[in-house]
């Protein structure tokens, strides 16, 4: 770890680090506050879960682990989870890279629309999206049966799960990769081209190596999220294709065995932590700095016309799929009886806007409050991890990932165990919901921030400090504007997840606070599929507006004239 930093901040001598830190009490204070928060909201609930998994009648015992690992079914679930995790991550990163590269590095039309369409699938409203997937890819699906002519195609199992996960997580990869690709100075590519390198060589030897932090961060994030995801497998995997996260959920909610569920979740952390260590080994010892303060203007010549239009074709195909996916839901929201009687009717929308208004407001309130907290926290942690040195820094990045790597059910249970007694009595309040969202989904912001920060020469920030700016001022006026793409990703992701997360929330919602996704679940339960679809459309509308507003705020905040943020 120390080696990494020596490379990233080569002109700072180690010995002077602690002195520097003491001279800058704000950084120290912020670092301490954040570490305390992570201890309280991530480590403490996790400890409660681990304790449950490793005790029997109050005594230490690893029975639960041994029992689970002996079962052939759990063994198969372990294997399936890893398989799906690796495939989903590889496919998502590949697709996300192609998509981001097309939009950032080539001159193609429709960029803004394609950008929004790339992000939308993160919304993936629970249950409704599974109905949309059945209507598109099921036995009589529009795509499987209509376009491809497949008869009796079975969507349940590995294929369906992979499809659904790639659809949900590729946008996350796109968000992370876009930030990194935007940060690569295109003049480097131009220089290589001018020196006579072929375009493919430039891509292979310049662009791709410089994108490594983004690719690895995106892979890590998607891999971990795929392992922890249980919404998709719950609906599409079925019992014949067990995965670990669902098994953990089932042990808790199906067999009422909290210990076994906790044990399985702790097992789930092993591949995630391993992936993190591999990632750090890959990324740790190299430099990726390309943003050095000199303005680079892209001529976007690095891609041949053939490759460009091929990429554009792929991008359009993905976008078309997204459009179809939501078109199916829009039809559902406006149909009398979704799937049976598709004559238009506004009843469902009217119903949702009258009955569901409180729910919409509650959800929005929680998302609006937790989004800036989560986004800012992500950027600050990324900044601390990459740029600063303080005791416990090495553990900070890993700790921040833990809640992300656990299935939501377990996070929810951990939160109840940890926060249902004084002095930390938070159950039933909005704080517990918010803390859950913020600390669970902050890693995407952190990883985006870290990937982008690694591209930026610390000399720029040091210049500001040498001119007398405080750490805070430097962060606000120099760092934050430079990592704007990562900040955007962090805010969008935090907002969408706060609006749509359900698994942990189920344990934390109270009669005081109702969430839209919980409402969608309940409408599906009552057979009001068109109302569920209508909720999803409202959700989608809110998210699209939010993406627009966040983008606008960030652009305003960084107006080149004022050059400041907030």
């Amino acid at each position: 770890m120390a080696g990494t930093d020596a490379l990233i901040t080569p002109h700072v001598r180690k010995g002077s680090e602690m002195r520097r830190l003491l001279a800058d009490p704000l950084v120290l204070a912020v670092a301490i506050v954040i570490q305390v928060l992570l201890l309280v909201f991530i480590v403490w609930p996790l400890i409660r879960v681990v304790v449950v998994s490793a005790t029997r009648d109050g005594l230490f015992s690893l029975d639960a682990y041994a029992e689970q690992l002996r079962s052939w079914y759990v063994q198969r679930a372990v294997w399936n989870s890893l398989l799906v995790g690796v495939c989903t991550a590889a496919a998502s990163v590949g697709l996300g890279f192609a998509y981001a590269y097309t939009l950032v590095r080539t001159a193609v039309p429709l960029k803004r629309v394609l950008h929004v369409l790339a992000i939308l699938p993160i919304v993936s409203p629970p249950f409704v999206s599974s109905i949309a997937i059945i209507l598109l890819f099921g036995r009589g699906g529009i795509i499987t049966s209509g376009l491809l002519g497949l008869r009796d195609f079975n969507i349940y199992g590995f294929k369906g799960l992979l499809l659904a996960q790639v659809m949900t997580f590729a946008p996350v990869a796109y968000l992370v990769l876009r930030g990194v690709l935007e940060g690569i100075d295109p003049t480097l590519e131009d220089a290589a081209l001018n020196l006579g390198a072929a375009r493919s060589t430039v891509f292979r030897r310049v662009t791709l190596p410089l994108a490594v932090p983004g690719v690895t961060s995106a892979f890590l994030v998607v891999f971990i999220e795929s392992l922890a995801d249980f919404g998709n497998p719950l609906l599409l995997a079925g019992s014949a294709f067990p995965v670990l996260s669902v098994q953990a959920y089932l042990q808790i909610t199906g067999m009422f065995n909290l210990r076994a569920g906790a044990a399985l979740s702790v097992l789930l952390l092993i591949p995630s932590v391993a992936a993190f260590l591999i990632y750090r080994a890959i990324i740790g010892r190299r430099r990726y700095v390309t943003v050095t303060g000199k303005p680079g203007r892209s001529s976007l010549k690095a891609t041949s016309p053939g490759a460009k239009w091929l990429l554009f074709g792929v991008t359009l195909a993905v976008a078309a799929l997204v459009v179809m996916f939501y078109a199916v839901i829009v039809v559902g929201a406006l149909a009398r009886t979704w799937g049976v009687d598709n004559r238009p009717s506004l009843d469902a929308l009217r119903y949702v806007l009258s009955v569901g208004m409180d729910t919409i407001k509650d959800t929005l309130a929680i998302a609006v409050v937790s989004t800036p907290v989560s986004g800012l926290l992500g950027m600050i942690i990324a900044f601390l991890v990459v740029r600063k040195r303080f005791p416990g820094r090495g553990a900070l990045e890993l700790t921040s990932l833990l809640n992300f790597a656990l299935p939501g059910t377990v996070v929810g249970i951990g939160y109840i165990l940890a926060f249902n007694q004084r002095p930390l009595l938070l159950t039933g309040t909005m704080v517990i919901l918010m803390a859950c969202f913020v600390f669970r989904y902050v890693p995407v912001g952190i990883q985006s921030g870290i990937a982008v920060l690694r591209q930026i020469d610390p000399a720029i920030e040091e210049a500001a400090q040498n001119l007398g700016a405080s750490s805070a001022l430097t962060f606000r006026r120099v760092t934050l504007p430079l990592i704007r793409p990562a900040f955007f990703s962090a805010l969008v992701f935090a907002f969408v997840r706060a609006m749509t997360a359900i698994s942990a929330a189920v344990f934390l919602v109270s009669a005081n606070w109702n969430l839209m996704t919980v409402q969608i679940l309940s409408e599906v339960g009552s057979g009001r599929y068109n109302a569920a679809a209508a909720y999803s459309i409202v959700l989608l509308g809110i998210v699209i507006s939010a993406i627009g507003i966040i983008g606008l705020l960030l652009r305003r905040g960084y107006s080149p004239v004022q050059g400041r943020f907030l």
């Binding site: 506050v33 036995r139 009796d152 019992s239 409050v369």
Partner: protein, 334 residues
């Protein structure tokens, strides 16, 4: 500037506390009855008694998990809904407290705990939902029995929940074991296996797939099936003639409640004719547990449903074993 930044950070972190809402005192309920029906039933209760309710919706598993996790400081007064065998679980774990309602005396013994820990207030039989359109388009005769479901033309056209996750599916396993005997029941489920497209996690997922024509037949408890028919889906509900099990969702008072009197009123009211008639009046598609109660239009008379004498005790005691056997033999083919 420094102060400004610190202020911003502190503000951002403290904001949630400021927004937290004041809590209104009233009966707090964990409802495993779906939101729409629970609101209707409990709304009628509030109108009749003047007792306000605050409802949080949790399906059976999450409700139990949450009560267990909150044991040290219970957040709710009543657990409303979820099959009686799960209330037996709650009783064994010491999560609930007894109350013998004077109104419960005329209830059938299978609808109440002898010590008063739980009281059932409605029941749902197991049924098969047929998508008549899909069956017709494939020229398949409508099945009327468990045996008929083995029809090879139905290959991949049935969905049922998985007993690992769903009380509904476990109910079906126990039903078959009671009708056929254990080994024959497992042989039957093995034969049925190729016809099952997927074993869903949720007990109500099959009805969704049937409604949209993804499969022809879904096996589950009946309310969602009737409800979808009522919403316009081509869905016919049948009861396999060899017999079907049923669930009898119950109500329990959570141990440590601070509103015992109000909680007791709810138990009392639910099994009064007033409460029982609400089930029909509010179109819940639930069967009442008392004989005198009104029957909802569209529901068959209970005498026409071939109910078996479902053995809750046997079901509870053999759960782990039967589910493990199901996983090994049906899923694993061992």
């Amino acid at each position: 500037m420094r102060q400004w930044f610190v202020w911003m950070l502190v503000g951002a972190l403290l904001m949630p506390a400021a927004v937290a809402r004041a809590q209104v005192p009233s009966l707090t309920i964990y409802s495993s009855v779906d939101e729409e029906n629970a609101r209707k039933i409990l709304g009628a209760f509030s109108r009749a008694t003047g007792i306000e309710t605050r409802i949080t919706f949790l399906s059976t598993g999450p409700a139990l998990a949450r009560m267990e996790a909150e044991r040290a400081n219970p957040q709710a007064d009543v657990w409303f809904g979820a099959p009686s065998e799960n209330h037996v679980d709650a009783k064994i774990r010491g999560l609930t407290q007894p109350y013998k309602s004077p109104n419960a005396a005329p209830l059938d013994a299978r609808f109440r705990d002898p010590e008063g820990y739980w009281t059932s207030f409605y029941m749902n039989p197991l049924g098969a939902g047929l998508n008549t359109k899909v069956l017709e388009s494939r020229g398949i005769k409508r099945p009327v029995s468990w045996q008929d479901l083995l029809n090879p033309l139905l290959r991949g056209l049935i969905q049922m929940p998985s007993p690992q996750t769903s009380g509904t599916a476990y109910n079906m396993v126990v039903t078959l074991v009671q009708i056929m005997g254990e080994d024959k029941a497992f042989a039957y489920m093995k034969q049925l296996h190729p016809n099952v497209q997927t074993y869903t996690t949720s007990g109500t997922a099959p009805s969704r797939a049937v409604a949209f024509g993804e499969v022809a037949i879904g096996i589950q408890f009946t309310p969602a099936l009737y409800q979808l028919y009522f919403r316009g889906y081509p869905l016919l509900t049948i009861f396999p003639k060899e017999g079907v099990g049923f669930e009898a969702p119950a109500i329990s008072i959570i141990k440590g409640t601070r509103r015992e009197a109000e909680a007791r009123r709810l138990v009392d009211w639910m099994i009064l004719p007033e409460g029982q008639d609400t089930l029909a009046a509010q179109e819940t598609f639930f069967f009442p547990v008392t004989r005198q109660a009104k029957r909802q239009v569209g529901l068959p008379a209970l005498q026409l449903v071939p109910l078996i004498n479902y053995d809750v005790d046997f079901a509870g005691k053999n759960r782990q074993r039967l589910v493990t056997r199901w996983v090994n033999e049906i899923l694993g083919g061992r």
